[in-house]
Amino acid sequence: MEKTYYNPADLKKFGDIADFEPELAKKFFDYYNDVFKEGALTAREKALIALAVSHTVQCPYCIDAYTAGTMEMGVTEKQMMEAVHVAAAIRGGASLVHGVQMMNKVKKLSM
């Protein structure tokens, strides 16, 4: 049995998902590569968004990949941490805004 569910070396094996289903994998990777191309947003902006999102989905592989990726693009540490705060603010805000739902229910149930 593997000692951990997450193994850093598995990141390199991402492409191997094609072994079990090549066609869908190809579609996914083509799409993925196109998404990250320079477009209306720069590659750098996209990498920063990816860094923030990877913290939201809490994917250790993506955090690894986009930490290195943004460093390669010369993104500063402060900018990287600000991106993480954006993720945290949305996560925290998303929880809190559901508080309204809780409050609505409380009000409905209360006399």
Binding site: K12, A43, A68, E72, M73, G74, T76
Partner: protein, 351 residues
Amino acid sequence: MPKSLQAQHHNLADKATQLKILSNGIFADGQLPTFKEKIEPLNEYPLKPTSIEIFQVNVGYMCNQVCKHCHVDAGPDRKEIMTRETMQQCLDILRKTKIHTLDLTGGAPEMNPDFRWFVEEANKTGVEEIIVRSNLTIILANPKYHDLPEFFKKNKVRVVSSLPFYQADKTDRQRGEGVFDKSIEALKMLNAVGYGKAGSGLNLDLVYNPSGAFLPGDQAGLEREFKKELKEHFDIDFNSLFTITNIPISRFLEFLIRTENYEDYMDSLVSAFNPAAVKGVMCRNTISVDYDGHMYDCDFNQMLGLKVDKKAGQHISEFDLEKLENRNIIINQHCYGCTAGAGSSCQGTVA
């Protein structure tokens, strides 16, 4: 100030130890292919020169800085320096051949007492271009260097300078406390005499290399970013930005091993191997000369003590253009640094 590996008597100051690390371990046990195994199927082994166009002369390992990533292991404690006699031999070669570029490097080349003489004499040989790889801070290190910008201008030297980042923190972490502010000051002095200004004909290029165990990003994107930031915050102009990959030798190798990044870094270089970059590696059109007049395929091979193929003659006193242009280039795993991603050379990306 930190010391060079040599002054620390560090085991990695030894070239043979470095070569052992690069040849053994993950490469010997088959985890990663050797560079030779990688280029053989491309019909690029043995790696051959095209023609010799650039004469890169390392005039000494002495430097006023002790940068963490230095592949030369340069520093104030290094005393190896090229003599005027050896420089004279280099000048004779420039006069005799069609080599178009003289590329002066170090250490801080300006610290060689015969540096100015060499530049002036080189100009008389008819060589088309003289490049000086200046670390910038040397211009401010001592009043005797303050007029270097005028000297460069007078001799139409192309200045290529390292600036790892457009902000102080990363630059200082890599190159030493206060280096960023002094570099900015020096860039202003170069701008003031016309360097980097449109229409002046005086070229000022910057060199970016990653401040750690990762690869450089897109050269054009980083150049845009550097230009914008340096203009906005410091009113500095320059011509081009060259991105250079850190080569896993000397102090950078020491950093990789100490921080347990060596295997991952080599793995990322191998994964990013770009067959198209092999065609443009700088050893194919360059000869690198050390302070003693020995010849190497590149500055990195120089630091690993890998002289050019014996059959081509290993000292400038035996310089033979034809033999050199037909030699086999000596390779090892550090060559992956030149062929990762868009490739890397003294002039930035190659593919």
